[in-house]
Amino acid sequence: MPQTILEVEDLKSYFYTEAGVVKAVDGVSFTVNKGEPLGLVGESGSGKTVTALSVLRIVPHPGRVVSGKITFHDEDLLAKTEKEMRRVRGKQIGYVSQDPNSSLDPLFTVESQLTEVVMAHEKLSNEVASERVLKLLQLVKIPEPEARLKAYPHELSGGMRQRIAIARALAAEPDLLIADEPTTNLDVTIQAQVLELLKDLERELEMALILITHDMGIVAEMAQKVVVLYAGRVAEVSHVKEIFSAPKHPYTAALLQAVPRIDKKRELVPIPGSIPNLITPPSGCRYHPRCGYMIDKCVSIEPTLERVGEGREVSCHRWRELSLGESS
């Protein structure tokens, strides 16, 4: 029986900019279960990162969480005080951002940055802290960890920096790790290693994992459950196998068509158009300007997220009629 560790209900986070109110996350709901890595998918601008930042309540100015409910370990995170949230961040929920080149402070050594996080959540003696830090480096499979302690970030390769960033996110032993496009800025060979590492960690530490990505290939490899975001809303929720064989939302299908596959010979079809303006999003279904199956209803009426099966949800007016995907 899957144990729900995080539940996001109707989350809305807006950015109040000079150009207008950017509705980056506009009614997103999903759940994360222990042992069931979640893939949060969408193009850039779909609201994936802002969702993650909203959970941790570190949405940068001029943005903020406007409404919704985020339940973690039976507590509403949005109701907590800032002081209480600080105890959640790092200790209960860890976050790894996408660019290893800028996610570590260039002026401090590896050791100092890892120790800092450990000590922020637990009062340990220097020796115990040092041991913990060393174990962390071993955990993320850094070769010759003792030698790396005194290194500065710019002295390390991109792959190693990302491992250190992951180590820092795990330093206080959180129950949930949010990895935000952890491999986007890495070489392909290193990508595979980091993904492998995340899989091992998820297993060894019995940790829940949210993997944010725009790459369906990574989703196929890492996730068990998939949430597809589009323009700040949830387009589709599904188990990973079904989403590849029988997607129910046109956007998901289009995403799949853009992924090259070795076993099938076909053209790469990019999705026409570009991400919508989030200050004045399209009326009705936000995807309708780019959708190949659009009808008049899609322009005027917004679809709601409907439950269409075991662990499956879709927000499309035409999910019953359409037969998408390439189940063959």
Binding site: P60, S97, D105
Partner: protein, 323 residues
Amino acid sequence: MGSLVNYVLRRVLFAIPVFLAVSILTFFATNGVANPYDIVRFGIHNPSAAQLDALKAYFHYDDPVYVRYFLWLSQFLQGDMGKSLYTGTVASNILPWIATTLELQVPALLLSLAIGIPIGVYSAKHQYSKTDLGVSTAAIFGYSTPTFWLGIIAIIIFSADLHWLPSAGAVSGYPPYWWGNIYLDSLAHAILPLSVLTFVSLATIVRLVRANMLDILRQDFVLAARASGLSEWTVTYKHALKNAITPIVTVVGLGFGVLLAGAPALETTFSWPGLGYEYVLAVGKLDLPLVQGLTMIIAVMVLGANVFTDLAYALLDPRVRLG
């Protein structure tokens, strides 16, 4: 550590050609246009024949330019920095003048840093707020105001009109002393120039700190630090500010080197007898030996400030120590 020493050595070595370049430029200014003897004679009233002969000898009037240059440079390097036409040797005057300038520059710098950094940080963290807008506007006005002019206005208001504070010199030459005794008198004299200098420096510092902090606060490691549960104080001061401050160290250090030259215009306005004021007087009187000597000394101080700044920067930012 080795790379650090290496780095500093390289900077010090670089100073040598700079020193030579300054000497050439200075010498060119005073000798390139005309023979200095001719220039100086222009500035003296009713010279006697004996004076003129002594001057000719002093300036090696009959020697070609390069000989004059080497003679002057070698004398300088041996400690003979020249003899002013009016006020004694350069060497004997230099220390009191530098001290007087520093009396103004050092407190101004410390005050503007102590006040400016917190304001800049606050402004950056609360971007778009009314406070930020006010601070930015005030800063850009302050940044555009010539310091010496502000000094004139200060004199007009506080000295000429209200008679609250004196307007000239660093201290009264003779009693009655302002505010009772000679120490308070010095203080009274320092208040106006110090305030003006601090205010304008503040504007620069606030602008810099705010701009750098805004850039740094956008970076991923700030977000990541916050996401790890570190306190806002730690994130802002330990991580963000430290990153923002390193380019400021460069600016302040280089600026300080320039400030050592005494902010000539400001000191002149207040007749503050520091290096800048004396330099202006010397140039005005065409007291070339003094001018040459002072220019070289100022250049050395600026170089020193530069090397020191580089050292500080390398200590703060480990990325700089390579290559």
